[in-house]
Symmetry: D2
Subunit: 363 residues, 4 copies
């Protein structure tokens, strides 16, 4: 094809049969938006009708993301207005924190389901926003109804929600690793240590001093020491899901990779334990989950690149008695856009795995 | 799921409708084999029944490739015997050069279509094997019937073949970039310079001194100076497709990336030219191709990661008069396994794009 | 040490004996400035007294570059004024193009030697600045006296100059590779093809859309197609040094590495040649050079990381007759700051290799 | 220079004055050997006379390590015999574990000082060798006299030793981070968690399945879960230096970088603490150390690349009460060859910093 030849008015391929739902993305020009566009290009039941991106309004999709050139030829980012998404079945929001809380009240009554990929509706306690994000919440009345978008823990909430706050990438990794251990009462709920290593795409597309190639490449560093904003999100998810008051020390480290998060989690055992018990608790907890692997292998971030899979393992150290869980996922997939599509599938009533690969692009 | 729980006997998901063809991979444990397995996990009409890998026979797929754990749980690599693939509709061969030429005669009469990802049946002239590969061909009687597996240039041959020699990754990149310029008579056919930069996965899975992380990372180097084996393959493809006797100086460079090839090709113009004419010739040549983008952007390997897309551009330098073409593809996809599936789709009679993404996993 | 304990007033270590020269860096906060600071920390005869960096004035060196923490504790970047460098023996300028041409006339009469790492004084023909850089030169009267800072070709000019325009990183690589072949009359001077692969640090420290980690990592792309500003610099250096009118098509490619440039250069032979003649011409040309290796190995950028070395090889392709030269260097060392120190050593009268390593940091 | 022109018989440059000591490396062909050769090329008092490497005997240094071409032209690796090092002042051993314990008894009585970079003489308790390394120690009679080569903790032992067991790279990072906290009695000695991220060069030069580029690049994974052999080394160093019985859970993670280790260490406080107290304890402990930086910045591995520096910080989490220390070093420098040269300088009586840079090669 010649890229500048006008395309057919609606070129997104659809496969299989079934109903078609009309979809929009508000804030589509960032990496989570681009990943949503990649997934929706292959989703048989979702038709992406509009994607907004204020700073890129009028830009051809292919000029910002040549990776999408063939699937979105002749398509452009548009400027956001509330009306632009009116009547759509699903709207994904890929906006910076603090922005979603203004946009979603403008649109939620006129669309089917809203899946917010940002952090504005994840925390139930409104006081946590000024404490951790530095500003009051402007739409706290929506917090009670927002489902926390982590299907493995909160599937039934998601199925009934019209507003879903998809879990953050770090929180998803840590929570999925620790939830089985806490739910089974194997580790003490306080003073849990989460040592996380993440790739760079989680920091978003806009250039920053700490995400240039020369800063990140051949480098490993911890960031947000003691103060990372995903801390209360992890504590909330683990506390709510297990009914105990969980406290964690969460320390992310930046490593030179595009995608991928690995969480190494450490807790004190509630009783004498061995590795088999820990693995069994994890396997039980996720026995019917389509995206979760539990086994004895040490998980690799690379095994899940481009997929919605989560790989988990666990150990008990006989020397110190400490319990260890390790989990990996792709931060743009199971940590963001893949998780968001999974939530949308659930909310809409589609098979949960529709349009989502379990197979990583390797190597 | 718990990885060691026995799986259903045949867990590969199929989507959509249509016929199902039975498929095998001989030599499945290398990177092209793993990529085929990834693609076949999502292919709605191909059911992968058997994958052999002699050095890995008895190994669980998930142990060698955790990325495939969810799609291939309970599946194992098997030892090759000719009988193991008897009656299959499609057999892919991912064997080292020199091995396919022994295996394919053993199986070709008992299967539907064979797609060889190796180099054993690519060159028509038997003398080129001892010259460039150092050994006589042991089955030269199959060379005439083998279709060269580059659909954009040889689609009709592929449609009628029972043996397809999928093009090499370097040859695919260079040939797709240069063919339009030669076909349109814009560049002289002799003394064409192909300066190619490739990622590391093309070198295969087994550890080698020149592909360790510490050797490759933060490094760029040229290899195979003057003597790379893809040289005659490029010359043959360009000569056959354009009817002229093409000679090239082909120099690959290894760069620190997993996937991706970029070919910068330089030729002398046959007449006074400008960039518009070159771009138009490329666009005309690929006007109806589903996997080829031609435009004015400088192509990026990263835009095609995990996809079967090819991105091309061209220039004429007004200062020196030289013509330049630049092309990129993913060496494991359009340069190997994606190309092989595309060829198999054509030979079987399926829509050519079945099971193949045009969208890159980015970033 | 505790970093915030006040340091001794002048902590830079000196080794060996000999005279000490007072040195300044104007524009020290970028990567070439930081590399100069690294080199000067180990230079036995240069004492770095002042480093300016307007956007970073008042910033502790260790806060911007923790790598320099131990050598520069208690030291800060200052704001530039012409007076701040008055009386210094050597001033290095690490300013953006267009800025040096304003600063250097302000200081050159009050200091010993100025070594400019930017491009403002490299081209002798004033008309080339508006043509390639988009703006008139504001101090063309200094162009005739500026020595081109490539010692292997212009050592005697450098020894007598008070203004030295250190060669650009791409130009250094290409010129050092091609000069022997042109000087020996082995290749035609017109239509030379320079296909260059470079790391990212050459693009400087400030964040840009095209140098974020996620843009560069796992990516290769060509940039500045037909129009890169180092083109006239290469042509000038080769034309002046060989007395012939050289024209080149220069195409840089960005690869995911911090440091390193590899130039693959192609030319038409003036007569029938073989590889031995080409290698001999290179070896003869650089026989007494302390930083240049010529041999039959294909050079690797990684072999020269952190060193001032240049590695070169050459070939003649018997199939096409074309001549090929390949060269590598570290763009921040022999392509910038190392080259600048080498030039300063020459101009001051010190042994040329003082403070410069020939050994790469590997792996 | 032309690489194959015979070099002067002894080309290693020496700078400054002072005595010259004759040096050898047994097992020089690995990465720690190459790093020693890089350092010795710039060391003013050490002359490297012999380097053995059995698998590479007869190989030119420049062929295995082009980075060393200019400093070691005309030099070759030799086969080891005990006699080859007779009479040398310093012998470094870069041999695999299990080999040094056979070699060192053969040579120690005929040389001045032996610095072993391997693990054979690090553990004082002979029983730990079969427990952690799987084989009995064959020369346990040398264990009592071997000094543990970590100058910041055991400087006086090193000064008096003829056999020095240079500390392992992981152990060095963890021990230097934790020792001040334990020595000051700020953290409980049991159940300390060491979560470490390391580059790949620590795995050595020979190709392995888990260190190919395609395995490591874009990947993070934990390895040696619960069983890494540096565990008892860390416990011994911390226990001996602080007089308490320390137990740790040590988990290394492999990240895609050549060099660099970052250790994130977590412990329970012995009393209520704040971050200032922890930083002060670290600063006090290392107040006069030439290679250690303590400050409030989160350390980056990249800041110490190619240098012998260690960067440290600490925190107390007011939410969980836990104490955290973070340290970085270059595994081939302060974690191996730089540390070994530092030890040799001490043992010989040279200034401790001779030939060792504190400045990282950045970026």
């Amino acid at each position: 094809m010649l890229a500048d030849v006008p395309a057919a008015p609606f070129p997104i391929p659809t496969a299989g049969g079934g109903p078609t739902y009309r979809v929009g993305i508000v804030g589509a020009s960032g990496y989570t938006g681009a990943e949503l566009m990649r997934l929706l290009a292959g989703h048989p039941n979702f038709e992406l009708e509009v994607m907004t991106g204020d700073s890129k309004a009028g830009t051809a999709v292919a000029d910002l993301y040549p990776s999408l050139a063939l699937a979105y030829r002749g398509r452009f980012f548009e400027a956001y207005t509330p009306e632009i998404v009116d009547g759509l079945d699903v709207v994904f929001c890929g906006l910076p924190h603090g922005v979603s809380m203004g946009v979603i009240p403008e649109i939620i009554d006129n669309v089917g389901v809203v899946v917010d990929l940002g952090s504005d509706f994840r925390l139930k306690n409104p006081q946590l926003y000024p404490d951790w994000y530095g500003a009051e919440h402007v739409a706290p009345e929506y917090l009670p109804e927002a489902a926390y978008g982590l299907p493995e823990l909160f599937r039934s909430d998601i199925a009934e929600a019209r507003l879903i706050a998809a879990t953050g990438c770090n929180a998803a990794t840590a929570t999925l690793t620790l939830a089985p251990l806490l739910a089974a009462g194997l580790v003490e709920p306080d003073g849990i240590i989460i040592n996380l290593i993440t790739g760079v795409s989680g920091a978003g597309r806009p250039p920053k001093e700490n995400t240039t190639f020369c800063t990140v490449d051949e480098n490993v560093t911890a960031y947000g020491l003691l103060t990372h904003r995903h801390t209360p999100e992890i504590e909330q998810a683990l506390s709510v899901s297990t009914g105990r008051d969980v406290t964690v020390l969460f320390t992310p480290h930046l490593a030179p990779l595009n995608r991928g998060i690995l969480a190494s989690c450490y807790g004190r055992p509630t009783r004498s334990l061995d590795t088999g018990e820990v693995l069994e608790a994890m396997a039980d907890y996720y026995r019917d989950e389509p995206f979760v692997v539990v086994d004895h292998r040490s998980p690799s971030t690379k095994a899940v690149t481009g997929s919605n899979a989560v790989h988990l393992t666990g150990r008990v150290d006989p020397r110190t008695g400490l319990v260890m869980g390790v989990g990996v996922l792709d931060n743009l997939m199971k940590g963001a856009s893949g998780m968001a599509v999974q939530c949308a599938n659930i909310a809409i009533g589609l098979p949960e795995t529709t349009g989502l690969s379990t197979v990583g692009v390797y190597p």
